[in-house]
Amino acid sequence: MAGGPSSDMIAELRTRPGRNTWQAAATRWTFITLSLVFLSALLIAPLMTVFSMAFSKGVDAYFHSFADPDTRAAIRLTLLTAIIVVPLNTVFGISAAWAIAKFEFKGKSILITAIDLPIAVSPVISGLIYVLVFGLQGWFGHWLIEHDMSIIFAVPGIVLATMFVTFPYVARELIPLMEQLGNDEEEAAITLGASGWMTFFRVTLPKIRWGLIYGVILCNARAMGEFGAVSVVSGHIRGLTNTMPLHVEVMYNEYNFVGAFAVASLLTMLAVVTLIIKTTVEWRGYRGKAR
């Protein structure tokens, strides 16, 4: 989030001649109005619609929709996926940032680009590649059948596809941050006899904590909300391989709008909480990397 005009800047602008003309005021209000209209139609109207549709048959119908065992199974699966994926990608992100930011080696920029790849590819491709590796006609398809295991159309596939799409989130937040913070304090700690782990937990971790929180919450939001990649590998088996976003789709296509928008309202609240935490971290002075 880039900041707005500082109060100094505004005060200074007011003193400038020619800034208080009717032209300046007209431009200002045109810009603000157009921005508000654009954002209202595109952002605010859909957000409000999620809740108005979810509550369209009343509060009881809204809460009743969460009694559906398939909905509960979808919520459980989404939480399970996030609990597996987020810690794994956090460890990966810290590890990648440590290797990339603290050391000089050849091919570093290629490595950074490779880590960013999952953000650049379509979510559908993210699911497709795992079908090609683990699906029936895939590389390990026969082996998996022989050993009576399934990855595609099962929970492991959902976890893998989610790991892929959220793979760079923590790493790309920590790499620039750790590069910027430098190595001086770590080198001092090591020279004074601290172990590598101690240096990480006592010196590095406190310095990078806001960036880490930032990366983790964005990773979590994407993990819980991923649709395209998971849709390709899940097989949409009700109560078994439907995550919350997939369950929204299933109910929506069955014209169960209250049910679909009720689950969607939970995901919207997750997004709102994510943005609140993100904004709080930014107000504490951490400037996130632009997406």
Partner: protein, 279 residues
């Protein structure tokens, strides 16, 4: 390893570098290679037959066309919003600024069903547009609307920091020398923010072409008419046509690589411009 990595007193290079390479290979590089290898299993004729099938071509036109149009709309309105947020103070500015990131945080399926409800013939905005004979949901316009929502934050977040860099002194100097507002805009502001604007445009375009979740609800998914390329891949997978899916996926992957490279080049250009301009 010793020659590859420069000497440092900090430990843990072997462990973290090894783990990074292992995870990257296992999760990203090897699966992506599977897509490329699967595609090479096709003969050139088979590959062409999939890519040049009329249904595929219709899907490219919609996907690229809608993503391009959405990116253009976002360049105009994204710039406008970024300008408003950077230059003006008004009640609710910080709230609006935080809200810009909503499309990043909101699951795409939720954006999809919500936009459909808003723009359907009986929706809060759709019913007014309907009176003018404009149908948004289940047409290509709906695809553009969805992609505009998805791409919006890329442009705003890219342009905002660049607008903060515009040197007010230059604007003042131009004004005292008698330049009009438009001259100042075209000769001072646009050149400064152009690399950032193009980066945001490219990011929105790249994201729009790959987008799936928010589009499939509002598009109606009519073959040859409102079917995007990612959806065609999903349909091929559902028909167990793995080779067809791989061929289309391969093309999209190549395009993603090209876009990733262009965005990196644009960012490098922008950084260089910024350094030279502040000297």
């Amino acid at each position: 390893m010793a020659a590859y990595q420069q000497k440092s007193v900090i430990p843990g290079f072997g462990l973290t570098f090894g783990y990074t390479i292992f995870m990257l290979s296992a999760l990203v590089l090897i699966p992506l290679a599977a897509l490329v290898i699967k595609t090479t299993g096709l003969t050139w004729e088979q590959f062409q037959a999939v890519l040049l099938h009329p249904r595929s071509i219709a899907s490219y036109k919609l996907t690229f066309g809608a993503a391009l149009l959405a990116a253009v709309i976002n360049s105009v309105f994204g710039f406008l919003v970024a300008w408003t947020l950077v230059r003006y103070e008004f009640p609710g500015r910080r709230f609006l600024d935080a809200l810009i990131d909503m499309p990043f945080a909101l699951p795409t399926a939720v954006s999809g069903i919500a936009l459909t409800a808003v723009f359907a013939g009986n929706g809060p905005i759709g019913k007014y547009l309907e009176q003018f004979g404009i149908q948004v949901a289940y047409t290509w316009i709906g695809v553009v609307v969805a992609l505009t929502l998805i791409g919006m934050p890329f442009v705003v977040r890219s342009v905002q920091p660049a607008l903060l860099e515009v040197q007010r002194d230059l604007e003042d100097a131009a004004e005292t020398l008698g330049a009009s507002r438009f001259t100042i805009f075209w000769r001072i502001i646009i050149p400064t923010v152009l690399p950032a604007l193009l980066t945001g445009f490219a990011m929105a375009l790249a994201r729009g072409i790959g987008e799936y979740g928010s589009v499939i609800f509002i598009s109606g998914n009519l073959p040859m008419k409102t079917e995007i390329t990612p959806l065609l891949i999903v349909i091929k997978l559902e028909e167990y046509d793995y080779f067809g899916a791989a061929a289309l996926g391969f093309i999209m992957l190549v395009f993603s690589f090209v876009m990733l490279l262009s965005i990196n080049l644009l960012q490098t250009w922008g950084r260089r411009r910024l350094v030279t301009s502040t000297r």
